[in-house]
Amino acid sequence: MTEIAHPIDLNLPAKLRDKDYRQQFFLAEASARIAEQIIALRKRRNLNQKQLAERTDTKQPAISRVEQADYQNWSFSSLRKIVAALDARIRVIIEASEDVLPEYEDQAEFDFSDAPLENAVQGASPNLTLLLNSLTSNWNTQSWLGSIFPFEGRPDLSVQLAEKDAEIARLKAENKALRSSMTISTLQDYQIVSRLGVAPQQAQSGLVAEALVE
């Protein structure tokens, strides 16, 4: 189909160099993620907003507000109340901006939704590679990917995949558990999983892709 609308360049890497912008961006991102997780868990517990409100001694509109991406007035005690009512744990990760900025550069540089699949798969996070690899214990990354696209004429790709396989073998040798489920948290992983047609229902941001390995 012919598309005539204009693309949108978010230009995240350049914008994130500005400290004020990145503080706002990270806050907006965190707020959206908190809301997303509360909604997902509330639904998993088969609760509606009113029922959750009753369990937290508050009113339904308050729950509705905290389930919005633009709610930024979080207090730790109110979050703790909601999380306790949902029988869950809070895990806080504070990361230095210089450690996380490369994630956004990756997202901005490549739009994996249209990239050739072999390029897209190269952008998979190690967790996704491990997850996909654990679909069956007999598969390794090379054979799994080999079933999707041919390696002929791409020795560079073969080397990279061999390195990934070596890493997986090392983890296995060290008896480190291979994760059999993961949270789809990066755009690349989401797009890869979507394009492979694997459990697209589950492959939404923030949801655990457990169905992939069942």
């Binding site: 598309e3 005539i4 949108i8 978010l10 959206a32 991406a69 939704s113 797009q191 697209p200 941001s205």
Partner: protein, 127 residues
């Protein structure tokens, strides 16, 4: 499935968004990433479909620094097209924003149809 987020015309983002609500850019960027990941109806935003009267426009409102920002858009399969981003003002301003978004939506659909028809004609003559 991942969605593609586009604009019509090319001045909507960042142009008009920067002019009207520069303080909302970081939140808007997050919203656009959410569109790409989750499609036109991300669960954590107040999404409203405006119905036939507004030509099938969709809207998202969010608050930033006590002001409401409104995004008017429409989904077309796996594509989401933004038509207008503005700070919510008086009822008259809101009316103007809806009218502009609707006019842009119609213009986009008309131009798209034209291109598709031209391309179909081209295919037919080549057979």
């Amino acid at each position: 499935m991942a969605h593609e987020v586009l604009q019509w015309p090319s001045s909507v983002y960042p142009g008009e968004a920067n002019d009207e609500c520069p303080e909302a850019i970081a939140v808007l960027d997050n919203l656009l990433l959410n569109f790409r990941r989750s499609g036109p109806s991300p669960s954590v935003y107040k999404v409203k479909t405006l119905g036939h009267k507004f030509g099938g426009l969709w809207q998202i409102n969010f608050k930033i620094k006590k002001r409401q920002v409104r995004v008017l858009y429409a989904p077309y399969g796996q594509t989401i097209v933004l038509f207008r981003i503005h700070k919510k003002g008086s009822p008259q301003e809101q009316k103007r924003a809806y009218a502009l978004a609707l006019q842009r939506k119609r213009e986009y659909e008309f131009e798209k149809k034209k291109v598709e028809l031209a391309s179909n004609d081209g295919n037919r003559t080549s057979h």
